[in-house]
């Protein structure tokens, strides 16, 4: 039975999904490009403190940048091993990537909470608005990537359903705890978001359902075709993850290295 249309007609010899991933990344460049442009345009325009030079902590962020870079390294190793056929080693590296991603998110949660503690929230000034919304959306990308990678990793690593649920459960409770901390510290100053609880419930619902049902599925379909598909998908996840990394490279440069000394605007 001849099936998948894309296998028959393929003008350029590349996979449709990979092609679309690259188009998506090109498009996402504009997405983050717009956020970064906004940040740059609004540099030095805050009318009230705290200003970047009172808030930003370069050493800590350098460490978190390093962590994200290393997660990229882990990611490329994961893809490399899986493509050479070393499924298990590849999955370990995938898990390592996800964990490094989690650590990076931890840094971000700390940073958000700390800033809120120092009096900088999205509502404080224009620096707060641009900073939180931009890094927040980057953090959202990271979170999505971590979920994607964890599901990949455990689809092979864990043997029983019980183990899978255990791993996925623990990773997700970490994410939920982080999100909860972030909400309570920074975002609950935003009046329209009711409470961290509602978000955590949404989060548990979303993640739990996706996770467990996906697991049920993958345990059913361990055949050659699905492995092939997973390999392809891991490569896509890798592209996505590296993209998140390079976005952070730019944000780190623009927000931290270049403008960390910005004080009150000279009017």
């Amino acid at each position: 039975m001849s099936t998948a249309i894309e296998e028959h007609v393929n003008s350029t010899g590349v996979d449709n999904k990979k092609l679309m991933m690259w188009i998506f990344l090109g498009s996402d460049c504009l997405f983050f490009g717009s956020f970064i442009s906004t940040y740059l345009v609004y540099r030095n325009r805050s009318l009230a403190g705290p200003y970047p030079n009172e808030i930003l902590d370069i050493p800590i962020t350098t460490v978190s940048t390093f962590v994200l870079l290393m997660s990229s390294l882990a990611m490329v190793l994961a893809v490399s091993y899986v493509q050479r056929g070393s499924q298990v080693i590849g999955r370990y590296w995938t898990l390592a990537t996800a964990l490094l991603g989690l650590v990076f998110m931890g840094f971000q949660v700390y940073e958000f909470s700390h800033f809120a503690h120092l009096g900088l929230t999205p509502r404080t000034n224009i620096f707060g608005s641009t900073f939180f919304v931009m890094t927040g959306f980057h953090g959202g990308h990271v979170t999505f990537g971590v979920i994607w990678l964890v599901i990949f990793a455990i689809s092979r690593l864990a043997e029983s359903l019980k183990q899978k649920l255990l791993i996925i459960g623990s990773v997700f409770s970490v994410i939920i705890a982080m999100a909860g901390t972030m909400m309570t510290h920074t975002l609950d100053v935003i009046p329209n978001i009711p409470s961290a609880v509602a978000y955590s419930v949404f989060g548990i619902g979303l993640i739990g359902t996706i996770g467990s049902l996906y697991l049920l599925k993958t345990s059913d379909t361990q055949n050659i075709e699905s492995i092939k598909k997973e390999e392809g998908n891991l490569e896509l996840a890798g592209l996505y993850w590296h993209f998140v990394d390079i976005v952070w490279i730019v944000i780190f440069t623009v927000v931290y290295l270049i403008s960390a000394n910005d004080g009150a605007p000279l009017l």
Binding site: T12, G13, V14, K18, L19, W22, I23, L25, G26, S27, D28, C29, L30, F32, G33, S34, I36, S37, L40, V41, I58, P59, T62, T65, F66, L69, M70, S72, L73, M75, V76, L77, S80, Y81, Q83, R84, G238, L239, H242, F243, D245, I246, I249, V250, F252, T253, L257, I258, A260
Partner: protein, 147 residues
């Protein structure tokens, strides 16, 4: 003159003659380095090393990726150190931009395999990236100028 530039460009980017971003399969495919340039020998040597580290089908060895990762880490460290050099003044911004652009290119070229992959991807991705950069610069210029 034009030919010389094209040669350097091809060597630098590893274009094969058919215009694809593809590392030549064997060192013999490399164009002969020109003897009258002082760096010719170095280039050949490093390309051999590079080809040894990257496999034919466009996937690097773990060692290769580890080296790339190390380079990235070092650049980050350098950035961190430069940040505290106070005498730089205005120069800080271009230096930082160049360093981070290096990191950016390294990740895209090697981790995302863009250097070894179909050049179509390069066009698609950099269409977005360059446009985003142009927009950022244009907005900065437009909103910074107050008549």
């Amino acid at each position: 003159m034009k030919k010389l530039f094209r040669n350097i460009w091809n060597q630098f980017l590893g274009h094969s003659t058919d215009g694809y971003f593809r590392v030549p399969d064997t060192p013999q495919d490399l164009p002969e380095p020109e003897n009258d340039t002082p760096w010719a020998g170095t280039l050949k040597l490093s390309m051999e090393k590079f080809n040894k580290l990257t496999r034919k089908n466009g996937h690097g060895t773990p060692a290769f990726y580890a080296i790339v990762g190390l380079i990235l880490a070092v650049i980050t460290l350098v950035e961190f150190l430069i940040f505290y050099v106070e005498s730089l003044g205005v120069l800080l911004i271009p230096i930082m931009l160049i360093l981070s652009l290096m990191k950016f290119v390294i990740v895209v070229a090697f981790f995302m395999h863009l250097r070894f992959d179909n050049k179509l991807f390069t066009y698609l991705f950099f269409a977005g990236f360059i446009l985003a950069a142009v927009i950022a610069v244009a907005l900065l210029v437009l909103l910074a100028i107050k008549p």
